[in-house]
Symmetry: C2
Subunit: 197 residues, 2 copies
Amino acid sequence: MKSETKDPKPYHHGNLKQALLDAARRLLETEGHSNLSLRKCAEAVGVSATAPQNHFANKAALLTALATQGYGELHAYMGRGVSDAADRAARRQAALLGYVAFAQDNPALYELMFSRDRVSASDPDLLRNVGACFVILADISKEFGRFEGEGAKVDAKQQMFVWSLVHGYAQLLTANRFKKEDMQGVSILDVIPDLHS
Amino acid sequence: MKSETKDPKPYHHGNLKQALLDAARRLLETEGHSNLSLRKCAEAVGVSATAPQNHFANKAALLTALATQGYGELHAYMGRGVSDAADRAARRQAALLGYVAFAQDNPALYELMFSRDRVSASDPDLLRNVGACFVILADISKEFGRFEGEGAKVDAKQQMFVWSLVHGYAQLLTANRFKKEDMQGVSILDVIPDLHS
DNA sequence: ACTTCATGTGTGCAGCGTAAACATTTTCTT
DNA sequence: AAGAAAATGTTTACGCTGCACACATGAAGT
């Protein structure tokens, strides 16, 4: 019984990496992005100020991990409560509502996920999770509206249309750019025009 | 001739405020948002590190002024090359193309304009310029697609649809979230589905 | 047992925003 | 014209930040 795998707490702290991510995530939403610092994360977890360096090469690496985690959860939100047998219209509805719900539940993280110079956009893990989200978006975009051109181009336009619409809606919503009175009883589904005659 | 208004250079520097904004804007696009500092702006202009404090209460105030300026230019981009006599379809086309062009020309500034905690969203000047942009968006949103509900609600949904779509498209485009091959010869106008039967 | 490596601490440094005291120049008031 | 007041700029200082570096410690492998 020399290498049992029952207790995965390897040593000093436990698993500091995930603890730092959790603390960073909480600080991000509570204090705002510009008040998030590695030192505050370290202090929240109870380690020295330089301990995070053992798990993240720099601050950008931590933010990238945070964004990667965010895309994973966004994917989960979009797939929530959808049975495999559901038709595309049902999946589409659930995915759109889930997408917006994630942004509303994690506005600061959502903004970070689309920031241009705070996360390293070429990170493989990040790209993988982004790709997983895009698979769902591509699926629900099929048979959506009428676009001109040949087949592949039509698919691309449909996907760009759906992603642009839901992303823009989510961002403008969480950035409070919509008038409150316009939002009464309105969801992302109401903002999609009737596409067929 | 004691108070002639011919030379508006008041004294020491000239007009440091605008010079700082110009420097900040250049640094923002070249160095990226996370490498923009007041001290670098001051150095670029050739004044001491604390001189900006006389013109901007804090860094957020400078970024807010930058965003305000951005919305002014976005408004100008949307109105470019449009005669007053043009019909709504022509204005819509020009405004959408102008909107996206501004985002492409000023990606870092565009991101700043929609950031949640770096600009003070309640600034009156900012709100005024945001409102001016929204007036154009509301105008081009009329008679767009088919939405259910009574009159005012339909207008609101149309506006939210158009702004969500063009903002999402602009942001995803500048964040390189679209596949390059999908973008070949595609503009914002191609991503809007045929809304009528 | 000894080495090796992963992980955590302590120290130090340059850059940052910004507060405070002071200097200088313009503008206002008389 | 003269002095007061305001606007603008500099210097200094302080605490916070990311991070490089040397070192300590505990776990794992041989």
